[in-house]
């Protein structure tokens, strides 16, 4: 017998098809659970609506990132090309009104900073990268990358109770219900 201490991660239920998963997700959403997720081999159109997910805050982060990139570019180009060391070519002036010469720089830095914010903001919001996930404790969960669909309701959820969650998932059409436990390190 293992002496490893374990704690309950959540209940896992398997679904046969994308539409079964979609309908089950609506039921779990209506039951008022907050900490749960759907797992599927491929993206399912409209599943975020079925899960009742709020809009991500990522766009706002990207907007801020882009704005910071824009301001950086304006300051960078203006300071170097107008204040510190104007490059005079063909007697063209260097002042606020020649700022259009720096538009490419503003464009590039806006794109670069919003691109970085998108990537790193996304990783941060998804709490990636991570080395392991408690659901990997479940043998059957491996088929999520193949042909099976899963819903896991986590124990962190305020409404989590083994009996009611089990009943809910069974009602929703889930099979192979499994209480996933993760080792406490």
């Amino acid at each position: 017998m293992s002496t490893q201490a374990k704690r309950v991660y959540g209940y896992l239920a398997e679904f046969k098809s994308a539409s079964a998963l979609y309908k089950a997700a609506e039921k779990v959403r209506d039951a008022g659970h907050k900490k749960w997720d759907c797992y599927s081999p491929y993206p399912i159109h409209g599943l975020d609506h079925a899960m009742g997910m709020k809009k991500s805050i990522l766009p706002y982060l990207v907007f801020c990132g882009g704005t910071i990139g824009f301001i950086t570019a304006v300051l960078l180009a203006y300071t170097t090309q107008v204040v510190i060391y104007p490059t005079v070519v063909q007697a063209k002036p260097a002042n606020l009104f020649t700022i259009s010469a720096f538009f490419p720089i503003m464009f590039e830095l806006t794109i670069l900073f919003s691109g970085f914010t998108t990537l790193f903001g996304l990783l941060a919001l998804m709490q990636l990268p991570r080395l392991n996930h408690p659901l990997f404790e479940s043998k059957q969960f491996g088929r999520v990358t193949d042909d099976k669909f899963f819903i896991a309701i986590e124990a962190r959820d305020p409404k989590f109770a083994k009996a009611t969650v089990k009943e809910l998932l069974e009602d929703a059409g889930g099979t192979n219900l499994e209480l996933v436990e993760e080792p406490v390190s």
Binding site: G46, K92, A101
Partner: protein
Amino acid sequence: MGHFITSKDIPANGEHLAKGGLKLPILISGLVAIVGLIISLYLLFSGNAFNNKPADINAGRFAYSWLFAFIFFVSFPLGGCFWLLLHHLSNSGWGVSVRRVMENLATVFPWMGLLAIPFLFPEVQQHLFEWMNSHREIMGVEPSKSMSILNADMYANATKELHHGTGTFDHMLYKKAFYMNLPAWLIRMVLYFVALGASMIILKKISVNQDHDENPGIKRLIRARKLSAAFLPIFALTVTFLAFDLLKGLDFKWFSTMYGVYFFAGCALNGMALLILTTIVLRRMGYLNQIMSPEHHHIMGKLTFAFVVFWAYISFSQFFLIWYANITEETSYFLLRNTENWNIASIALVIGHFAIPFLLLMRADVKKKPGLMIPIMIYLFVLHALDHYLIVAPERGPSLTGGKHLFPTSGGSVIYDLLAFATVGSFFLWFYLRSFTKNSLYPNRDPRILESANLFN
């Protein structure tokens, strides 16, 4: 999203405007157009050719007003042509609900050709296109005998004179004479409206016939798609060379290879903006509610957003290359538009035509709210008018005063601009609104109308 739309929700004969639904706006625009046209024709042709009496200055000023108003209002139907051709060619399913509105907009284009007729007369041309004056002068043609330039032999000799003759004629006019000569110019002007106009009428006819066919099938869709592949080059050539002939020709010494696509960007942007505005108004009047949803407005808003960026990209590219290269022939355009107060308008265009709509149209929920889209679309029209005003109007002063003044004589020009704007605008509105009263408001028997009605993106 409401319930799933089925064929039961779609009336067998489509939705038609209630009798007299648009009667008042049509009547008003028709009356304004008639009164405006009479005054406009008087102003355009009141001046005598080739002398400098005040009456001619007035006629010259109004010629520019007319060109500005014409080019502004012709850009909407051109945008409609583009979106209709793109709809057929890309085999798009979502656009079926809006297709009839696109068709109505596109088929205004041939009628706009009527307003281009004044440009065919030397009395109007002499103020706008200096190269024509040079050509006429070298040929010794009296303006009253304008059609004699169609004599080919005479013209061939005359173009040689452009080069070898004495006087102010330069090598550039000689080199450009293969394109910029009067017979070719006149033929092109007629061809634009006949060729593209006929294309649009054919496409609309195919679509309208579908409305009355009990068992339409897909044969018309495939025919329209094949025809659109042939019509798209016609559209591209028309929009490019119309801009060259009417706008770039104002200053024959200027070069820009971006010019055609610059004009196109404005056409596509404001064509889509007008489509959005029209569908919102129709929905507010109680039509199109079964087959259109905020999803359609979302897609159309995204296209508008894309073309706000495209317009900025193209117009900036044009400016940027010229600014860097700093060649005299190229910089003249922007020098003129950055002299004295025109500078304010140029800068306003950068902020108002790009930065502000870019930020306004960024959010998805804004595109889905008609109450917000109406003011944004009207704002886009205002800035589009400023864009085209800045193309046409700065040429007026230097051309009419022989390069002495930036603005021609004192004041008054703006009143002319408004008069021409109201005339051409109401003429456009009359044709546009009337086309809605004739057929169903959407292609109700199209095989993909349900796909479009249940759009989700």
